[in-house]
Amino acid sequence: RDSLLKDAGPRPLELTEVFKLFQTKYNRSYSNEAEYARRLDIFAHNLAQAQRLQEEDLGTAEFGETPFSDLTEEEFVQLYGHQRAPERIPHMVKKARSRKWGGP
């Protein structure tokens, strides 16, 4: 798992495999290579964050991959929170919104 969760530098093969499984599981596709790379970075960051939360948590919670693992924290709150959001949601999220369950 450590090798999976490097935050910086070239992506280890395992991470891209994990990301591919994530895409299959949650029916994700991205409009171009740059978008793919950006989402992969966000995914890696979120898994690292989840591991940190797991280590910090004093309860019994388990953190890890969820349907929101390829969203930035801002996108997550904007899409699923109830703060009054600006009218326009970033283009790539809107494009991907066609997912039936409502993911990006």
Binding site: A50, L53, G59, T60, A85, G102
Partner: protein
Amino acid sequence: VPPSCDWRKAKNIISSIKNQENCGCCWAMAAADNIEALWHIKHNQFVEVSVQELLDCDRCGNGCQGGFVWDAYMTVLNNSGLASKKDYPFQGRPSPRGCLAKKYKKVAWIQDFTMLKSNEQVIAGYLATHGPITVTINMKLLQGYQKGVIKATHTNCDPQHVDHSVLLVGFGRDKEGIQSGTVSSQAHKPRRWVPYWILKNSWGAEWGEKGYFRLYRGNNGCGITKYPITAHVDHPVKKSPISCPP
């Protein structure tokens, strides 16, 4: 206050998990969940009310861009009730035809709504004797949540910044490290009881613990005591109240 309470165990009280999809309408779903649960408790009648009506008729307009549970209750009071989900189904975006409240028969209504004291003991007592309550929390830790009891700290989950409304449906205690199957990751910590709240979310039944999640009870985790708000559904004929199964 009983040691534990789980309204999910009472038959036909808690409706199925909703899914807000790409619409920022957790406030409408939490309010609808609250009204449905109270209607089931008070009238012993299972109804599913229209979230879409709350979106379309909300006084702030465009309910998919966010809103507040108290506005949902105001909408219900102004419209003298809510239509059924069947008549006025959820679309996940505002209806182009605007508010259609007058078009459909009401299947549930409320008499009032109140905000409880920001005290977890008071909230637990009310929950156990009256029914589920909406609360609004900081959602930050939910992005990576899979299962178990989240024990948030005020640094990793600011209780002053709340941005997601959900329904409080029970509370209990977890033995750390055994029930949640996390022995391996917690083995180095002494096992203790972990008191928790049970919360119903609106991100579908695949998320979290079949659509629910648990938050540590006792430290105002993620601001759970900031806005404890519930509708009042009075019973036409006074009957002895049922209480929450342990």
